[in-house]
């Protein structure tokens, strides 16, 4: 590829990159007048864009669109992880799902996840963002540190929390030392405490991520708005209500939806905390854990796993539709 520079123009990028006015180029490069015009931005040969798009399009087809169709197809079969003959079973998988206590339990767990995560992860990160927004000495360090849980693997984080939430671990130890608890709480074995433990882990790991989204939104708040409000005699709290909140409303909505979807997709945290079992009787399983469980081994069932995948897709669609609805209403 000979793409090292502009063929004719010795002054190359400087003219094109920074200067938004094409007229200047004509002045700087008068030799262009002698060149035959090729006509606007569409000098490109027709296949150039498709060539550049080809890899991404192929990936989209092979790893997104085809698997979606294949999931639908497989959900009507009894395909097995270890291969073998595949039979059409009609709606059997879907009917089985309706009567599957584990699926009902997993959906219930998802709802609990959402209900607890939603307020915590839409509100706490906003306050943290307001805290790191001000340019104080060392603020870059704090921002980076607050983001650290986001970059760590869910497996690592879950192992750390498993140790901290152990019967003899840090949390129970501290709580007993401070006299808050008489006996250790079974964070990792009780059916509901497992979910609550996983929620706290997900919240802790998500704070930094949503903080960044708020930080980007706060960057768009005009300083003069704050000043104007202050001059009108608005205190810090009032300024937060009338200036900051309206400015981050869009980000807050986005985050609310992202949190809902993330709650429905939880896997690694619960998997690692329960050693892959989902607690006693698998009652603390999540939807994705069920899908994973049916994807492997002699007892696996890809048809059933596909039907579960479709159910999961429709469940995650709900918060997205709500977002679309709210968005279209606020535009009107």
């Amino acid at each position: 590829m000979s793409v090292t520079g502009f063929p004719a123009a010795g002054q190359k990028p400087a003219a094109g990159r920074r200067d938004p006015h094409p007229e200047t180029v004509a002045v700087v490069a008068p030799h262009l007048a002698r060149r035959p015009r090729t006509g606007g931005v569409s000098t490109t040969r027709w296949f150039t864009p498709w060539l550049l798009l080809a890899p991404a399009l192929i990936w989209l087809l092979v790893f997104s669109i085809w698997p979606s169709l294949n999931t639908i197809r497989m959900s009507f079969t009894n395909a097995k992880p270890l291969g073998g003959a595949e039979r059409f079973v009609g709606l059997r998988n879907f009917i089985d799902i309706l009567g599957d206590d584990q699926v009902v339990g997993a959906l219930l767990n998802s709802v609990v996840f959402m209900v607890v995560c939603l307020p915590l992860l839409t509100i706490l990160p906003l306050f943290i963002a307001l805290l790191v927004e001000k340019k104080l000495p060392g603020i870059a360090f704090f921002r980076t540190a607050f983001y650290t849980p986001v970059i760590a693997s869910a497996v690592v984080v879950a192992l750390i929390w498993t140790f901290m939430l152990d019967d003899r671990g840090l949390v129970n130890g501290l709580a007993e030392a401070l006299g808050i608890l008489k006996e250790p709480l079974p964070f990792l074995t009780d059916r509901w405490l497992i979910i609550i433990s996983a929620v706290s882990l997900v919240v802790w790991k998500g704070l930094g991520y949503y903080m960044i989204i708020y930080l980007a939104a706060l960057g768009n708040v005009g300083r003069d708005l704050h000043e104007a409000a202050a001059m009108d005699g608005a205190g810090a709290f009032r300024r937060f209500l009338v200036v900051t909140l309206p400015a981050v409303r869009g980000a807050m909505l986005l985050i609310a939806i992202l949190v809902c979807i993330a709650a429905l997709r939880v896997f690694s945290e619960v998997y690692v905390m329960t050693g892959g079992t989902g607690g006693a009787g698998g009652e603390a399983m999540t939807m994705v854990m069920l899908i994973q469980q049916y994807s492997r081994g002699f007892t696996g069932d890809l048809g059933y796993a596909s039907a579960l995948s479709i159910l999961m897709f429709f469940v995650t669609l709900v918060p997205m539709l709500i977002l679309a609805r709210i968005n279209s209403r606020s535009d009107a």
Binding site: A15, T38, T44, L52, S64, T71, L174, A305
Partner: protein, 287 residues
């Protein structure tokens, strides 16, 4: 007038010492919550087997710091091989996403051609698919081409993420049209415009994509868990889960193992965080 100015300077000039102190106090509190657990794990990984790690009053400082647990992890599982496997997968993810989503994003935003809107719509539409919903079918695809239980099978699907294509599309779209027109008048073809004119202006977003592709591949758990069965193919996260399943009674060992997985990624991020936050300002996160 002077009252207004005074109030203004109180609110927006230097913050008072009271506010400064309370801000730092809160910052330190959040700091303890966010990195405390990592430090606790680090401390545990450095405690010798003679030391009780379940003391009633937590001991944050190891009484006899030792790297012994790290050596034991390396005896228990082939850590270097797992790291190599994870790096192999991450290299595909970073290379594929940086190169191909940049090319595709450029074509979608800076070139005019028939069908462009349809392609953009197609990319947008697949965004609503949660990856977990197609993971079974993706496994079937990978298995059908003989890549089940291989690292290539783990690496391949993540090489070009739709979201990254759209992030690049967004970044390129933010550049003024005039820079293209100027380059066209200069006689630059599409590739030259891509390389010399557009690409240098979206470095922040490229950096965000590179960082996140690496982190995503290094941290991924579910997909390699589904694809891989042989221990010699395990990535580090799978190896870690295997370690904790086998040595669940020895928290020092697990602590050391999790630090081995965490420290490299922490270093990568600490070194590159400048680019990351710059990319965020460029709009690389909001998508």
């Amino acid at each position: 007038m002077s009252i207004a100015t005074a109030r203004r300077s109180r609110a927006f000039g230097r913050m008072g010492p009271g506010e400064r102190i309370s801000r730092y106090a809160l910052l330190i509190l959040v700091l303890l919550v966010s990195i405390g657990p990592f430090l606790w794990q680090l401390s545990t990984s450095l405690k010798s087997t003679d030391e009780d790690i379940y003391t009633k009053i937590p001991q944050f400082w190891p009484s006899h710091p030792t790297l012994d647990n790290y050596a034991r992890v390396m005896d228990a599982i082939p850590v270097w091989q797992f790291i190599g496997n994870s790096l192999f997968v991450a290299a595909f993810a970073v290379g594929g996403n940086v190169i191909f989503s940049t090319l595709a994003g450029f074509a979608l935003s800076r070139l005019r051609f028939r069908g462009r809107r349809i392609v953009i719509g197609l990319f947008l539409a697949t965004l609503i698919l949660p990856g977990e919903a197609t993971i079974i079918a993706n496994y079937v695809t990978v298995r059908s081409v003989g890549l089940a239980d291989t690292l290539l099978g783990v690496a391949l699907p993540g090489m070009i993420a739709t979201l990254n294509v759209l992030l690049m599309y967004n970044a390129f779209r933010g550049l003024p049209d005039a820079i293209d027109e100027a380059a066209v008048i200069d006689g630059a073809n599409a590739l030259q415009r891509f390389w010399n004119v557009s690409l240098p202006s979206v470095g922040g977003t490229v950096a965000v994509i590179a960082i996140f592709s690496f982190i995503g591949a290094w941290d991924d758990f579910l997909w390699p868990l589904i694809v891989l069965t042989s221990p010699d193919q395990f990535t580090l996260t799978i190896g870690l889960q295997y370690l904790s399943g086998t040595f669940s009674s020895d928290q020092r060992l697990i602590a050391a193992g999790s630090m081995i997985a965490f420290i490299p990624i922490a270093i990568v991020f600490a070194v590159l965080q400048r680019f990351f936050f710059k990319g965020v300002e460029e709009g690389g996160v909001k998508g």
